[in-house]
């Protein structure tokens, strides 16, 4: 029997790795990937608690998280493609104008 704390510690480790990547990397694609990693760590927590408490609500919420992540990635990558084509930048530090 796998203890509950094992899953939660793994989820915390993945979330922290994703947070570190999202804060320190300067390529917007890598930042989006790190955000995906953090969302997945949260998903693992949801499913773990759903399993532990015998309530399927956590698994349903993790499906919602996946749907939101899909739409977020679609919009984010569209913005990335436009920024790279029009201005040739990938560094979020250089994205400092609202309109050009």
């Amino acid at each position: 029997m796998i203890p509950l704390s094992h899953y939660l510690i793994l989820s915390a480790v993945l979330f922290i790795i994703g947070a570190f990547g999202a804060i320190t990397r300067r390529n917007i694609v890598i930042i989006l990937l790190s955000i995906e990693l953090m969302l997945n760590a949260a998903n693992l927590s949801f499913v773990t608690f759903s399993h532990a408490w015998g309530d399927l609500g956590g698994q349903v919420i993790s499906l919602f998280v996946i749907a939101i992540a899909a739409s977020e990635v679609a919009v984010g990558l569209a913005i990335t493609v436009l920024l790279f084509r029009n201005r040739g930048i990938l560094d979020p530090n250089q994205m400092n104008t609202m309109k050009w």
Binding site: I2, F20, L56, I66, T80, L90
Partner: protein
């Protein structure tokens, strides 16, 4: 299954942690995306261990199959290989400050992780069993979570509007 569960958990969690470290540290975005695919597959195996079968299948289909392929498409479309190194050649004070700040951030996050691990010792054991197969998930989704389900469809619609709007502006300009 019971005595095989713990070794399988350690195997898949080791794969997940190592590949997510590759995601964050690798210089080439394409390798990062492939490592994230490996993380997703390991996580879906962990979902199977948690008896969340439907979520595991959706994880493979949507994340590994759709989202990460979208990432790969964008990376290959843009040809952004090597743009990281070009940025690093600029000379500024930030080149000295940045590694120090990263180190401080890493220490802070690791301290937080240690706190979480210490706190996790007090948690109760898993007592109940619930199988997340399609039937049970759909019953919960369409009764208790019907309104959030409809709202998610609205969010997906707004996402479509946003992406089509961005693509249309691009077309109009060129």
């Amino acid at each position: 299954m019971n005595n095989l569960g713990l070794p399988l958990f350690y195997l898949f969690s080791a794969v997940a942690v190592v590949s997510s470290l590759i995601v964050v540290t690798n210089r080439r975005p394409a390798y990062s995306v492939l490592a994230l695919t490996l993380t997703m597959l390991a996580l879906s195996a962990l979902f199977v261990l948690l008896e969340a079968y439907f979520v595991a299948v959706i994880q493979v289909l949507i994340y590994a199959g759709a989202i990460l392929v979208l990432f790969l498409f964008v990376i290959m479309l843009l040809g952004m290989e090597g743009t990281d190194r070009q940025i690093n050649k600029e000379k500024s004070i930030w080149n000295i400050v940045r590694p120090v700040a990263q180190l401080v951030l890493a220490v802070l996050l690791l301290a937080e992780l240690g706190f979480a691990i210490v706190q996790a010792k007090n948690l109760p054991q898993i007592v109940t069993h619930v199988a997340g197969n399609v039937e049970a998930i759909s019953e919960t989704l369409f009764t208790r979570y019907l309104l959030p389900f409809e709202l998610v469809s609205g969010i997906l619609l707004i996402g479509i509007f946003g992406v089509v709007n961005l693509a249309y502006q691009e077309q109009k300009k060129s």
